[in-house]
Symmetry: C2
Subunit: 270 residues, 2 copies
């Protein structure tokens, strides 16, 4: 497969840097082609603005959606956006790797999505949720989280990790046609010991070796007729669930056996 | 009250710009003091990196949490961060205003949170979830969303708006002690007519005139003993709910009567 890793951490010597380097090595050893967009090293511009659309005149009011769509059609998107779009088109698997900051992506990664997933490319290009332009591509998150699994469990105080990642898995990936695989999550990452780093890398290697056969997250889809004319999930599909979990076909939640739950140690490592 | 508005839209002539200007006018007319951090006008730096911590040496590995905590203690945070922290300390009410992009905040606003809520200030400064440094302050979101209310309802395909905003209301505000008020949300904002803009501003004015008496979102808290030793919500409090909604004491969901659900019209306006 062609694999694109979007990497968002300011420190190469971090746990995230270690995991990213290992992921590249394991992927290449397994015969995959790997491209990495290291957003900090690229000094990635995070903020959507008029300069992203080369035909846009500052005196004209900026309608972000419409102007970005015209820019795509006119080949007037900023070159850094075009380069990322070409990487996406080449990729069979797109990995977002990041530390969970404030229960979401770091700004620099959000800015990659905001700027690269332009109208006509990331949305407004075919059907939403299961039928978009990127149908057939897979996605996967590699995430480090500072707290433990309990606090991210179904009734854990931080919210269930599934629900926190829903805006990415469902709202970004599935929306545009990308099928998300189960995420690879390292909990307690602020206090991870060297032994657990080694264990994490072993688990990551096993994950990568099974990439082709991994079960994805199954969401309901518009194209399959799972939603009514108001875009509401049909009653008979809800399975007594409500909230974000209702949109998943399987009720498995995270496959915690694949997740590393490190013991607390003394050093910040995320 | 002292009100701080963090505004994140690249176009002053947008619906968001109109709402922001009206909010400032209504707040001042009601006798409040208003400060605005207009992140695009400020050319706000979004990405957390070593330059945010003036004492940090590039040859040293960057541990973001620890380094930011030391920088706070040494008064070695970058001046733009310090200025925002001082605004927060002065504020009784903090408003985040933004268009919902990819079911979350625009990158520039996420970058404001990532950089300003440093360790020892936004977290690691007193108890989490109901007992942080900002206890007594209120927060409120003003959000425009491109789709309609149905698609953001309990079983709507985008996910319930309450759940999508949970990482902000609960994970950023409540985590650090800020009590979130009900959000002010404008749906169908890409296709809003002039008449509905006028109606939206009337609704906004009514909201601002009732700011002092508005019912907040009531979340369970660690300090009140609502969570067990693993940070999991105690069983008897769950009220047969699971998922993110379980952390709310009230089961009201959004107060939709306060929400403007504009009819589709012809122009993009968000």
């Amino acid at each position: 497969m062609n694999v694109l890793i979007i990497f968002a951490h300011p420190e190469q010597r971090s746990l995230n840097g270690t995991i990213k380097n290992a992921a590249v090595a394991y992927l290449e050893a397994a015969g995959h082609q790997v491209e990495v967009s290291d957003l900090y090293q690229m000094n990635w511009k995070s903020a959507v603005d008029g300069r992203d659309y080369l035909h846009h005149q500052p005196e004209d009011r900026l309608f972000v959606g419409n102007v970005s769509k015209v820019a795509l059609e006119k080949q007037a998107l900023a070159p850094d956006i075009v380069a990322e779009q070409e990487k996406i088109l080449r990729a069979d698997l797109i990995i977002f790797q990041f530390p969970l900051w404030w229960f979401s992506m770091p700004a620099i990664l959000k800015g990659w999505v905001d700027r690269v997933f332009t109208k006509g490319f990331g949305y407004g290009a075919g059907k939403r949720y299961g039928g978009g332009k990127f149908l057939g591509k897979k996605g996967m998150l590699i995430v480090t989280a500072g707290s433990d699994t309990h606090s991210f469990s179904l009734n854990g105080i931080n919210g269930h990790m599934d629900d926190l990642l829903f805006p990415i898995h469902h709202g970004i990936m599935w929306y545009s046609g990308i099928t998300p695989l189960q995420p690879f999550i390292v909990y307690n990452s602020n206090h991870i010991s060297e032994a657990h780093v080694a264990e994490t890398l072993q688990t990551l290697k096993a994950r990568i070796d099974s990439l082709e056969t991994l079960d994805p997250i199954h969401y309901y889809s518009i194209t399959a007729g799972d939603y009514d004319e108001n875009d509401v999930l049909k009653t008979h599909l809800r399975d007594n669930k409500s909230g974000l979990a209702a949109h998943r076909k399987s009720s498995l939640g995270l496959t915690f056996q694949e997740v590393v739950n490190a013991d607390p140690a003394s050093t910040e490592n995320q």
